[in-house]
């Protein structure tokens, strides 16, 4: 009888062990999908990005740009400060199509999609980090753990072109907004950490401040979003080469 009970318990334990794995995988996808839903809840958004760069000795540089975004594929980013970069604009469209407008040359140039490999305008964000693509499209999630306040996920890039081997993410359990992301290079070394501060504007959670730290260079970029406006009625016509050079 004891043996039978032991066998039954063992069988249940094995069943549970197998059963929890798919449940967690499902859970990780659900969580990440909800994060995407929070990040891209509005139809469109316009804002002013104030960017502060701090090097290891505490010296600071500043950038400022306006950003307009529709859905997850249309975005125009225009630098307004410093003067050396003012007017430089980047238009991102679906299918990795990107255009760069350089006022000094007076024309729009198509940019190679390999630019995603690089840092965005001297910041600690890469073009890839700045991309408005849903996490679910870019990464395969894995549930790591949870505690009282957060879910912890591990994301593996779907593209082998990514500069990262994996990314870990902590997510607010109540509202499903991002709290922290840690990026690992191909050698599995921790290279960058991003901290998010979300506030609610109207119906939407907004990443009011993102601080990205490059651990190797001890260089930090703080991106603060101001003048945020949601659901402005932007259309695809607001994200064209014609608009880029206006």
């Amino acid at each position: 009888m004891q043996t039978l009970k032991f066998k039954l318990l063992t069988a249940i334990a094995i069943l549970l062990a197998f059963a929890t794995k798919p449940a967690q995988a499902q859970n990780a996808s659900d969580i990440l999908k909800k994060v995407d839903d929070v990040m891209y809840a509005s139809k469109d958004m316009t804002a002013v990005n104030k960017i502060e760069l701090t090097n290891r000795s505490g010296q600071k540089d500043y950038r400022e740009a306006t950003v307009a975004q529709k859905g997850t594929s249309y975005r125009i980013f225009r630098f307004t400060k410093p003067s050396s970069q003012a007017g430089i604009s980047v238009l991102s469209l679906p299918d990795d199509i990107m255009y760069l407008y350089m006022p000094a040359f007076g024309k729009v140039r198509r940019i190679s999609s390999s630019i995603k490999n690089q840092n965005f305008a001297g910041t600690d964000f890469s073009y890839d980090d700045m991309e408005a693509k849903p996490f679910m499209e870019k990464y395969t999630p894995k549930f790591l753990k949870e505690d009282a306040g957060y879910y912890y996920l591990e994301l593996t890039p779907k593209s082998n072109q990514s500069a990262y081997s994996r990314v870990t993410m902590s997510v607010n359990k109540e509202h499903y907004y991002l709290v922290e992301m840690t990026y690992y290079d191909k050698g599995n070394h921790e290279i960058k950490v991003a901290n998010y501060k979300f506030v609610k504007i109207g119906n939407y959670w907004n990443a009011e401040q993102i601080t990205m730290k490059d651990l190797k260079k001890q260089h930090t970029t703080s991106l603060v979003m101001t003048d945020v406006k949601y659901d402005n009625g932007l259309t695809n016509d607001d994200f064209t080469v014609r608009k880029l050079q206006e």
Binding site: S83, D96, R109, S114, G122
Partner: protein, 459 residues
């Protein structure tokens, strides 16, 4: 004086616009101050370029439907060239300067119909997908003043209609009412476009004087104007365009030489005429991505409207002959020739950037058989969050005759280091080393290796 008046007019227009449209955005003043200094590396290290440029850009957007823009260069350019005592009284010689309106236009968005943008005034109309050197970019005159600033153009007075058929497709018509010639290089490369004169006279005769007259197109609607049309579209994520230009070559060609006797002692004068020629230009370009590599191609087919013939009249040197002694040679045949560029670029994960272009036919070359091949290459590496940039690999290889490369080649090497001293101040130091043989443009730079220093402050 005329230039100064024009400058004042532009300022007046800008401020008038500001006063009249208080609800629109304020007039924005931006620009940069740049110093550009160059010396030859060979002793005694002659100073070959001195330019201090103040670029003032005025921009005003009027109620989201129109834009006024102008760029003015106020420059101190050149080395003092004092030769006589009277020159010392002339500030223009002691401290040469000039004022130039690069652009001054008004752009109307959604003019008459929501899809039509109209730009009127002096403007740069940059066509082509290649990097800096664009065979299809033929509406604005070339600005060859600084021959090392390849691909620089001046603005043209033009009417530019741009109709957007969709987000990715548009049709453009540009009309330039009068002809504006290319301006030629200054400084040590002033004679770079002049063909070397190798004359041998009969014994006892010597060359006294050469005078050159320029035969420019008449400044009327019929003769001097240029028309350009362009269609832009997209096929399978590749941007492409097809264009046509009916215009003038901004570089004149030698068409007449008349030899006359200057005196009874055997002195000879030559009176030459430089003329411009009209041409049809059919262009096509495309740009896109293949596996993360940016790629572009651009080609233009030039068809001269008429053959360009050079006539040399030697009758005066042979007074005894019963017939005029006239030689004719064809400088440019009435046959199509192609200039083209293919290139690509790639951004590396280590913040490196590689740009490679192959070019057939440089900006000053025309006529089938006269076009050389150029390979341009540039690798940049950025450090410290883009504050520091080095270009260890930058330059060009030129072949002007594939059958005799040894005597018809040029190699240009241009390493560069630049540093953002502040957010708005960039300092760069570069070298230019030339090696070559033959008749191409770059081979003629041989012996002029130089060191360049630039500082640019943007505001």
């Amino acid at each position: 004086m005329k230039r100064a008046n024009l400058f004042i007019t532009v300022l007046f227009v800008a401020f008038s616009l500001q006063a009249k449209a208080q609800t629109s955005q304020p007039l924005k003043l931006s620009g940069y101050l740049q110093t550009d200094q160059r010396i030859l590396t060979k002793s005694p290290n002659d100073w070959v370029w001195n330019e201090n440029r103040l670029s003032l850009q005025l921009e005003k957007k009027i109620s989201g439907k129109a834009k006024f823009y102008s760029e003015v260069w106020l420059r101190n350019i050149g080395i003092p060239k004092v030769t006589t005592a009277s020159d010392l009284y002339n500030k223009g010689i002691i401290d040469p300067w000039n004022l130039e309106i690069r652009e001054a236009y008004v752009q109307l968005y959604g003019f008459l119909t929501k899809n039509l943008d109209v730009t009127i005034g002096r403007q740069r109309i940059a066509w082509g997908t290649a990097d800096k050197i664009n065979p299809t970019d033929n509406l604005n005159p070339y600005d060859f003043e600084d021959i090392l600033d390849f691909g620089r153009h001046r603005g043209s007075d033009a009417l530019n209609l741009h109709y957007w058929l969709s987000a990715n497709a548009s049709f453009q018509v540009v009309y330039l009412p009068f002809f504006q010639p290319d301006n030629l290089p200054i400084g040590i490369f002033a004679d770079i476009f002049s063909s070397p004169v190798n004359l041998s006279f009969p014994e006892g005769m010597t060359l006294q004087n050469i005078t050159t007259r320029v035969n420019a197109p008449k400044y009327n609607l019929k003769e001097g104007s240029t028309l350009g049309v362009k269609y832009k579209g997209m096929i399978s994520s590749f941007n492409f365009s097809l264009s046509y230009v009916w215009g003038w070559d901004g570089l004149p060609m030698l068409t007449d030489n008349t030899f006359t006797l200057a005196d009874t002692l055997g002195g000879v004068n030559i009176n030459s005429i430089l003329s411009y020629h009209r041409r049809h230009i059919f262009g096509a370009d495309l740009a896109g991505n293949i596996g993360g590599v940016g790629v572009w191609a651009e080609a233009a087919c030039f068809v001269p409207v008429n053959e360009v013939v050079m006539t040399t009249d030697l009758s005066a040197l042979f007074p005894g002959t019963p017939y005029p002694v006239i030689y004719r040679s064809t400088e440019l045949k009435k046959q199509a020739y192609f200039r083209y560029v293919v290139g690509g670029d790639y951004y590396f994960k280590n913040n490196g950037y590689l740009n490679v272009q192959f070019l057939h036919g440089f900006v000053n070359e025309s006529g089938r058989g006269n076009l050389n091949d150029y390979l341009f290459l540039r690798y940049e590496q950025k450090f410290f969050n883009d504050k520091f940039k080095i270009c260890p690999l930058s330059g060009a290889v030129v072949v002007s005759n594939w059958h005799d490369i040894k005597h018809n080649y040029a190699i240009v090497y241009m390493p560069e280091i630049s540093y953002m001293a502040t957010e708005n101040t960039e300092i760069s130091v570069s070298g230019l080393l030339f090696n070559g043989k033959g008749n191409d443009l770059f081979a003629s730079f041989n012996g002029y290796d130089m060191l360049l220093f630039k500082m640019k402050y943007s505001f």
